[in-house]
Amino acid sequence: MTTPIVENQGDKEAVSSSAGLRGSDRASGGQPDGGRRRWFGGRQGRERKFVFGVMSPMVFYMAIFSVLPIIWAIVLAFFDYSARRNGGPVVGLGGDNPFVGADNFGQMLDFSEERPLEVRQFHLSLKTTLMFAFVVVPVNLAITLPLASFIESIHQRMRPVFRNLFFLPVLTSAVGVAIMWGFIFNPQQGLLNGLISQVRGQDTIIAWTTDPNLTVLGIPVALLAVIVAYIWQDLGYNLIIFIAALQAVPQSMKEAAVIDGARPWQLFRYVTVPLLKPTILLASILTMISAFQVFDLFQVMTAGGPQDQTRALSLDIYESAFRFQRMGWSAAISVVLFLIVFGLSLVQSRLLSSDWEY
């Protein structure tokens, strides 16, 4: 172990401190600015200054735009808060925006026939969101992983073409994507119905996104339409992650498997996929998180219809908060959404974790 060069007293104490000698705090107590000199003096002090310098803006940014809103949402979840009402003197809490304890969360557990409209909408939107996420994640992975493997297997010159082709939708505005898919699914002027009409040889009008009675395996077709649009846009993101991971798979392992007689499918199934487990975990968590947060596609493509069949939690949060001014209720749903995503991420990481690295 090398001994750090000691330049001055301040550094000496800093080294002691970094070695875990807590007594140095007390040792400098008699000097008015000894602690400060110790902390920022010398070479390590300069390093600390640099670290503080580069980290402070991000720490402030995170504190103000991430941590505080989360704290504020958690606080609001315990109040019957509406921005339209004048509450107490401190940030509008209290007064006409009373503290209601865990009432908002309690209401969410009301499954009776007479439960209020907002509770029914919450239950419906929770079901819709779970359905959306649990379809999107496996379908996305089932497409992107083989596709990435395919792109990696083709001629080197063609790879960037495919990579860019599939990544382009990621760069597109979600609103633009929603409008485009809305046009494709339009019952009268839509491309899809036009294509079906051509194939069938007669005019076909199917209300893909507006018929509440249209379902496949219990999943509303309107929701499937949004899923198709979402996967189309999100595909490239996971594709790039998998391509990067595939490039990192040691060639020696593949060669060893080939020497052992593995066929291409066996190579993919028993060598590549297990080695990609950490990447699959990352991609599935990221996809799951973003699937729970999708808002713009639902808002623009279906506006939650037909009959609330595509009312996702994010849409329910937005409508409750900004359309109907039930900020407290909306914050409680946000907290629940946060807990769901957090819980599912933990479960996923537990299920897909591996004990080794390559």
Partner: protein
Amino acid sequence: MRKTKRSILGAMLLAFALIMAACTNDDESGGEEPETGSGELSGNVRIWTHQNDAFNDGLQALADSFAAENPGVTFEFETFDYDTYIQTLQTSLPAGTEADVLQVFGSWTCSYADNLAPVPESVLTTADADSAFFEAALDGYKCDDQLYGMPQEFNIEYGATLVNTELAEAAGLGDLSEGWDDWDAFTADAQKLSEGGEGDMTRAGFMFTTADALPYTFYSMIVQQGGSYLSEDGSAFTINTPEGKAALEQMTSFVEAGLVDPVLYNDEANWVGDCFFATTCAMGVVGPWVVADYKDDFPEVAAAATYAPLPSMGDEPNFVADSGWGLTVSNRSEVSDAAWAFVQYAALDAENALEWNAAAGTLPALRANAEGDAATTLVEGFPQFGPFLDILGSGQFVGELPDRDLLWYDITYPHILSALQGNESIDDALAAMEREANETIGG
């Protein structure tokens, strides 16, 4: 390391404290009154409006002429796109950071009334307001019999239907501008304009299944029969009534007659403005503002667009309407005299109000501007206003509802649409609407 954590924690607490301080109500910000109080107005009046070029150009012109007459007064306009504006109002009013004059949609006024200034008696008494403005345009600005602003427009969505005259002529219907004697005559004509049937409709004869049109039609039909969807003291909704049932049955009959397929035509697909100007619907329930909105993109269809009065389920062409856009003043305004003088100048002075209506393409809130030369001027500029000007007096305010948007978009629209689509019986829809509506007032 511990000290680093302490520093970061300290910094976060400081940031939190600063933000909390910024968000805290400052009730003592009344400040000094910069106006002279000697009758001469002065001060800088901040005005907030939503982004609508026609509206704002008209208001700016009035502000310019007011400032020319009152050299001590200056104006500062701040505009926001619609969604941002609503959120800005909702957050800035409780925080006390709003402008002096606020453009507000009348039906929202009471939800902001805690932070708005009542109209001073010296400016306008409630009795004078009642005689000057149409009831439907004004009543949204009244909260507990106290007036909080003045309307500039009459917001109308029901009473007459938008008609494509070219399609009507092609169907051999001739001039429809006089309307129809009864619903049977109307249905017969609308049937001739429909193309295709349930499941394969390519043109709706009468499109009334949007999130706005369904509630306006339904509640208007109730009041036409002499009914009411609110109890007398306003403490409960009374939707599941014989009048409500008759209204819903009448609306269902339109679907059964093949005037519209509510699965293909609703608020999510083939919205009335879109389908009318794409000629996939021939008639539709929507306010006259839609023509101004679409005419640049569809000049030929706009030229063929006119309005025809709809039949009534009673003796009078009664209808319900929201109170439209108007002007209010913040109760924290430091230049309230100048602000009220401007509101009076823009909304109550008949000539100025007409100038704004003509610039904005809106129906007048002032009774005086719906008749005589003023009416002629408006109809010359906006021919589609004609049928509406005759019925404005039959309009009644939707009522001081606990949450109008919730009643309209999350209760009435989905249940009626579901009933029209055949997924809910009329009785079930009425019962559900009444129950859910009463939940909003805890009834």
